[in-house]
């Protein structure tokens, strides 16, 4: 059909002739079909996020609750003895839950002040040349895989902790030596890992403070440091709270970095005890667990999931408040 066009435009005319009728909007049916399919596919893609969260929630509940019914809610959540593999197994995860809460709290207490001060540095006091070094360093720290933090914790922190442990518990008869794999090492690793999150989000919050507020404070005679701590930080409060909440989420959910660093037995969360977190219990035992033991590990996952949900929902509440405030 397609003869070679003798002159420009001829091909077009040939094509027009082929169709029965020519319309500038083309054939309506095919266009609207394509349009409808495209819209349908995009809508489907949008729904996938809802579907994913819904199915994760459902699966966590389905897999996490049988053990609670089976062993007993009280025995699991408030039991302190974790002996999943013995002849008379006991599945108390109270210490595991407490370890995650205590560990996360300590890590946040350590990481947030350093992170916030670094954010102040980047947003307020840094000379350009310094900021150009610190900012990329923070970005790179955020990108380092968590297993590498774990490797460094194991090779650098644990020996140091062991020395400290030997010095402190020299005369103790009751202390079980951990070789440095203890709560304190894990807390330090977690504090380092939440730094980038805290720094980036609080820096953005500090920068978003209206410059007039700062100028007003300076004009009233307050020094720069006074302005930062009495005016700018309070004004950026909600953003900083967001940073802290996200830091908590990151710390409580971290698994691979602290699995080997924190030791391998379930204990009361004291600084020099070998401990298990919610995450590390799953990582180190899921590989070989079976039966009730496996079900309880899913219950641990469910507890972690509930913590994360509470954190996420309080975060959206904070953000909503912030929106209303502005």
């Amino acid at each position: 059909m397609h003869e070679k066009a003798a002159f420009p435009g001829m091909e077009m005319r040939l094509k027009v002739k082929e169709q029965d009728s020519f319309s500038i909007i083309g054939s309506r049916r095919t266009v609207s079909m394509v349009e409808k399919t495209a819209q349908g596919i995009f809508t489907l893609c949008g729904f996938l996020a809802i579907l994913a969260v819904a199915s994760i929630t459902i699966y966590m509940l389905i897999n996490g609750t049988p053990a609670l019914l089976h062993v007993g809610i009280k025995e699991i959540l408030f039991g302190t003895v974790w002996k999943p593999a013995s002849a008379e197994p006991s599945f108390g995860i109270l210490y595991v839950i407490l370890t995650s809460i205590v560990g996360t709290t300590l890590a946040v207490c350590l990481g947030v002040p350093i992170g916030l001060l670094t954010a102040v540095f980047l947003a307020e006091t840094a000379p350009k040349r310094f900021a150009a070094v610190v900012k990329p360093a923070v970005e790179l720290l955020a990108g380092i895989p968590s297993v590498i933090y774990g490797l460094l914790g194991l090779m650098v922190l644990n020996p140091l902790m062991y020395k400290l442990e030997l010095a402190i518990f020299k005369n103790s008869q009751t202390h079980q030596f951990t070789g440095g794999a203890n709560l304190l090492s894990a807390v330090l690793v977690l504090a380092i890992m939440i730094l980038p999150t805290v720094i980036n989000i609080s820096e953005a919050a500090l920068r978003a403070v209206q410059p007039q507020i700062k100028s007003a404070s300076l004009a009233l005679g307050a020094s720069h440091v006074q302005t930062i701590f009495k005016v700018i930080i309070p004004a950026a409060r909600s953003g900083i709270i967001t940073a802290i909440v996200l830091g908590v989420g990151r710390a409580i959910g971290e698994a691979m970095a602290i699995t080997l660093v924190s030791g391998s037995s379930v204990n009361v969360p004291l600084p020099f005890n070998s401990v298990r977190f919610l995450t590390t219990a799953i990582v180190s035992e899921m590989g070989y667990a079976a039966g009730t033991h496996r079900q309880v590990l899913f219950t641990i996952g469910l507890v972690l999931f509930l913590f994360i949900m509470v954190i996420n929902i309080s975060l959206t509440k904070i953000l909503k408040k912030e929106d209303k405030g502005q």
């Binding site: 996020a49 670094t118 070094v133 610190v134 990329p136 990108g143 996200l246």
Partner: protein
Amino acid sequence: MSSIMNKRIRFSELVVKLLIYMAAMVSVLLLVGILLYVFSKGIGSVNQTFLTTVTSTLNGTVGIAGNIVNTLYIIVITLLIATPVGIGSAIYLNEYAKQGRLVRAIEFTTEILSGIPSILFGLFGMVFFGNVLGFGYSILTGSLTLTLMILPLITRNTQEALKTVPDSYRSGALGMGAAKWHMVRTILLPSAMPGILTGVILAIGRIVGESAALLFTAGSGYLLPKAGAGILKKVLESGGTLTIQLYLSMAKAEYSTAFGIAVILLLIVLCINALTKFMARRLDVNKAL
């Protein structure tokens, strides 16, 4: 003597300033320390055998070629699924959806999805993709799990990119008679491409560094795929990425292998970081035009 021009320096303020500088130095020192320590310990184990063979007691070699290939498999498959879906979701949210409860629900769940710890994705992937759908410990299970994880990243980056495309482009295209999908395909996506690519590069970074979500989904296989049909079959076989191998080596106290892998991972992280920087600069240039 005293003048309002003379700044009085308070001692306490000096201390605070010192603290601020010290805090800022923490990040820099940490990074430098980590890089120096890992490279000095690990560079010795990185050589040609390490990169091109698999660990074998028979041949007496220690190598991570299998893990490198697995990592590539997982990156490619995850991106093949997650990129179109993520972009589609962003297009829906930004171009098609009417603002309302539904959009808020999607944005909320996307937010939740990005907050869920990777170990929980791992548990879900193990049960759903591994057991219910029957893919077992395989590269496919791992990729599907990671797809859920990086979906928010790609959606959000695409959304941001779409938001920067001026509305005049849209009305211009529609005014000239383009249908909506045509407008999206020929005007919006090309304009948003740098932003989308940034999202994809960030996603690669996430995949390379991920471990907890893969331990119970992709497994720990370290062999190379067999030639021919084996290349496709590999998708349904267990395959541990570099991070998984690093974790396993560390747990088995094979520290020279662990540090060798750490060197490779850090190099990848550095490359990805440089690449995102480059993309960001290009984005700025585009915006300025």
